[in-house]
Every structure is written in C-alpha cells, then in structure tokens.
Symmetry: C2
Subunit: 316 residues, 2 copies
Amino acid sequence: MSQPAYIALTGGVGGAKLALGLQQVLAPDAISFIVNTADDFEHLGLPICPDIDTLLYTLSGEANTEVGWGRRGETWQFMAALERLGGETWFRLGDRDLAMHIRRRALLQAGETLTQVTAALAQAMGVAHAILPMSDAPVRTRIATQAGELAFQHYFVRDRCEPVVTRIRFDGSETATLPDQIAQRFADPHLAGIIICPSNPFVSVDPILAVPGLRDAMQRSGVPIVAVSPIVAGAAIKGPTAKMMRELNMPNDAVAVAKHYLGLVHGFVLDTQDAALAGPISALGLRTVVTPTVMVTLADRVHVAQQTLQFIKQFQ
Amino acid sequence: MSQPAYIALTGGVGGAKLALGLQQVLAPDAISFIVNTADDFEHLGLPICPDIDTLLYTLSGEANTEVGWGRRGETWQFMAALERLGGETWFRLGDRDLAMHIRRRALLQAGETLTQVTAALAQAMGVAHAILPMSDAPVRTRIATQAGELAFQHYFVRDRCEPVVTRIRFDGSETATLPDQIAQRFADPHLAGIIICPSNPFVSVDPILAVPGLRDAMQRSGVPIVAVSPIVAGAAIKGPTAKMMRELNMPNDAVAVAKHYLGLVHGFVLDTQDAALAGPISALGLRTVVTPTVMVTLADRVHVAQQTLQFIKQFQ
C-alpha cells in the first residue's frame, strides 16, 4: 500500500522554512510543493522566479541561511561590474544565482513549460521532492499603493515595501490554468492533507489560490486543509505581512489570518505566544493546535512539520 | 589647426595589442578603431561581441594580460553553477564579463544601435578613444570545413580551430551598411593614415573590408594605408592565421599576407625576423619597413605604434 501524500502551498523564504522541515520528514513521493509564481518577473532579460529559486536553494542545501535569501557562498562580481557599466542594480543577482536564470531562460526558449524547466533544474540540483509552479502561464502581482500601482518586485525589493498598500491584484490569473502535474496530485487517492505554509497570505498564498481550479481542487479533494500562521505575536516572522494587514485595515494578528482563510481551511497552527488566540479561532469553527512555530534551526523546522502532520492526522 | 587623425582596423587580441600602443601615443580624437563584429554571436540569450569586448577591456586596462583573453581579476562562479545545472559551458563567460553582455543586451533592447551601445559601454569603462563596430547590422563569419560549415565561435572556441578550413564567408555582409560614424571619419579632412592591425586577415580584417562601402571609403580617402604583418617567421603571433593559410593553400608567410592586401595597402610593416622578405614585398609594389613587431610588453606595443605612424608620415 502506498503511503499518505501531502501537498504544501508556499511562497518564498517564510514558507520554505516549513518546506525544508517537511522535506526532512517525508519521502519525495509523499509531499509536493506548489509554489507561488506571481512574484516572477523579467529582469535584465532574464526570467527570475524568486519563490521557486528559494525552494530550489532551500531544498538543495544551497540557500544562504545567514542573510536569509540567495545562494550559499554567493559572490557579487557580476553586480559590481554591472554597476560600473550603469546597469540596474536594485535587484541583486549573485554570480552563482545568475546561472539559474540563464539556464531557465535557455530551457524556456527551447519550448519547455515552467513546470518542466523547474523539474529539470530541481533534478540538476539534486532535489527529489516535487517543486511545482502554480501556473505555467505568467501571473503577476500588482500592488496598488498610495504612490500608484507597482509591479511586485518594484514594491518589494526596489521600494522596500515602503509604499502604503491599498489593493493587490494578480494580473493574468483569470486566464491561467492549473498545470496537469498539480491537478493530478490533488486527485491522488493517497492525498491525506494540504498545508498552507506560513507565507504571506496576500502576496504568496492568495495568488496560488487565485489560479482557476485550484481552490476547487483543494476542496474537492476532501482532505484536511490546515494553515500555519505567518503571524506570531502580532508580527510577521519574515517580510511585510503585518505591515500590509495594517494598511489593508485588518488587525495584524493570527485571528485575522485565520479569518482570511475561512471557508477553505479546517485547521490552524498557532504559535505558543498566541495561545490566547486559540479560543477566538476555534470560535470561527476551525480546529487549532498550539506549538512553537518560530523556525530558527533545522530542528525547529522539523518540529513544525511533524506537529502539522500530526495535527492533520487528528482529523481522521 | 587640428592634429592629424588615423583609423585602425582591428580584430581581437592580436590587433588589440597595437591598438593599445596607438592609444598610448595618440589623443582620443586622433585615432579611431574600427572593430570586426563578424565573430559576434548570441549565446545563452546574450549578445556576445568578442572583438569589441577585447578592445574595451584592453583600452580600459581591464584585459587579463596573463591568459590573453577576458577580464582581469575574473572569477568563474557563474560558469561552475551553470555547469552543475547542465548548461552550455564551452564558451567561458566570467562573472565580471557577464555584466558587459547583460548591459549590452539591455541597451540594444532599448533600441540603441551597436555603435551607440559600444560608445556608452566605452564611456562607462573610461575609454575616450572611439571603438566603432564595423556594422550595426549583424554580419556572421561562417567557416566551411571538411567537417561541414560552422558558425565562427563553434569553429574557433568549441572546436579549437581543429577542423580544416576550405572556405570562409560573411553572412549578412551584402546587406550591411557602413555606420555614419565610420563614414564620417573616412571623410575627415584631417585623416592622415589608415592602419590594418596585425589581426587575422581572413576572419578579422576581411569581414571589415567586406562591409559595402568600407573599401571604397578607404581608397577614396587618399591617405596612406599600411598593414602590420600578423605573421612573423611563418607563424601567427596569436590564433590560427598560419594554420588557415596552409589549409587555404597559401604559403604561411608575410609575403602571402602582403599579396592578400594587394590593391588596397600602400605599405607593409615587417618583423626583423622576416627582413629577407622586404625584397619580395617591395617587388609587389609596396613600401616596407622592418622593425621588431612582436609585442610582449607595453613598451613593445608603443614601439610598433610609433614605427607604424612614422612609416605613414614617410609617404607624404
């Protein structure tokens, strides 16, 4: 008999921490990662997929864990030379990281889909667990701010999330389709649970949920769906989630995240610092589990993965 | 009164040695370099211009004089990472060198001509002397060999000049046009001489001469045209010139080079090791000067530049 299989929805750095924990405790055919591609953009003529790359680097042990993004042992000779030539340097591309984008471009130019390209890159990097782009067609996050509408990376990297967010939309998501690879995994009879990683709900998870057919596929699967809170004690572990929540006029706490996922998830994983919020979240009709969710070490990541899988099993 | 001005035709490494010598002894407005672009190719989605880059690096003091190509202080992190991803690595792109191609691509995509892009890159690199691509439209050297026809860089780099050459043609040269920047310099009343640098006659200088209007412009200028021999004592100082000459059934000596340029040049600069060939070359109707032309040090380069300019002055 085949073992139970899981699907995790994830963005970049925050979600990748849990993805690494899940990779540590589950075999390659027992977990698939569906990754946000709405942060992707073309820069300097290269197709940059920040969240896919974060997963590739994290799951291959290539992530730079000291600075929290990019590649281990990265160097910046290219960037320094480009700066001297007057090129754009607001988005930092390391020498080793560049190889990923150049190789991806070559494979895309040869006619492969982003799903196929990502599988080839993962294989070359030694990653056996499936990293699945949420869509092969481009979907692009556009951030409406008080300073006008911005492409995601302009908001996120160039402008350091400083503009006040008023609205978020996902350009191209109406016409995107769910890749077969993803549809098949949701239809897998061994599917035992779906995990929403502690990624930004608005710019990492929502674009995945906006791919036509994905939300339906999740619900039709009939398996428990649980989210791990990206907000702990009113602050985002990583990135601008809490700031965005304030700007979007919601309380910046785990309850608001749980409400955001209401109607989709059945369970919610809360940090021990937020134990007092278990009551209000239960009152929304969700099951909860309270456990340390701040992931600093690899052991922390494994702990959250194990707790989340344990939580899912309790639904059966 | 304005000073006399010169034009030099050059390919990559061999010609760039004399170009550096000329740069040392002439002011920016006294010398222009017309550079072969028939070695250019698109690789990994990037526009690579090997001869232009060699000039840019040489004239900015950025050339790697130890290995004879590429940039000083170059690193290879990108290449190592690309190899791991299964990418093409036969053409070595250093981390710093990559910046040049990425920046060139961005400027070309923005609608600038190769002439404009090269001027911008030269300015950013601190090169005040004019580096002028022979054409803004692509011209591509194709090498017919006993192993079939090859794109130049496949012949030159990937196959290390090993296939036996049977014929050389310049794809696109019929429809190429002389950039205005070049036409103006040939028409400059202060033009005092034209120098053919010691580059490969067949794959570096011939493609320049094949640009419609260029040979005419040289001849109509009425100034002395002199070539510096790329062959010394029957061997090429750099690259496959001598090997090509044997394969194209010509003697691999300076006389054959002089014959190749017959009808175009008025003078020929010969190495002291080939002093005995001054007679046969004079017999072709060319003036000659015999001087050490092997350029190892910067002083050697300056010496050949000075001797060549002195030689041109003797025509007046």
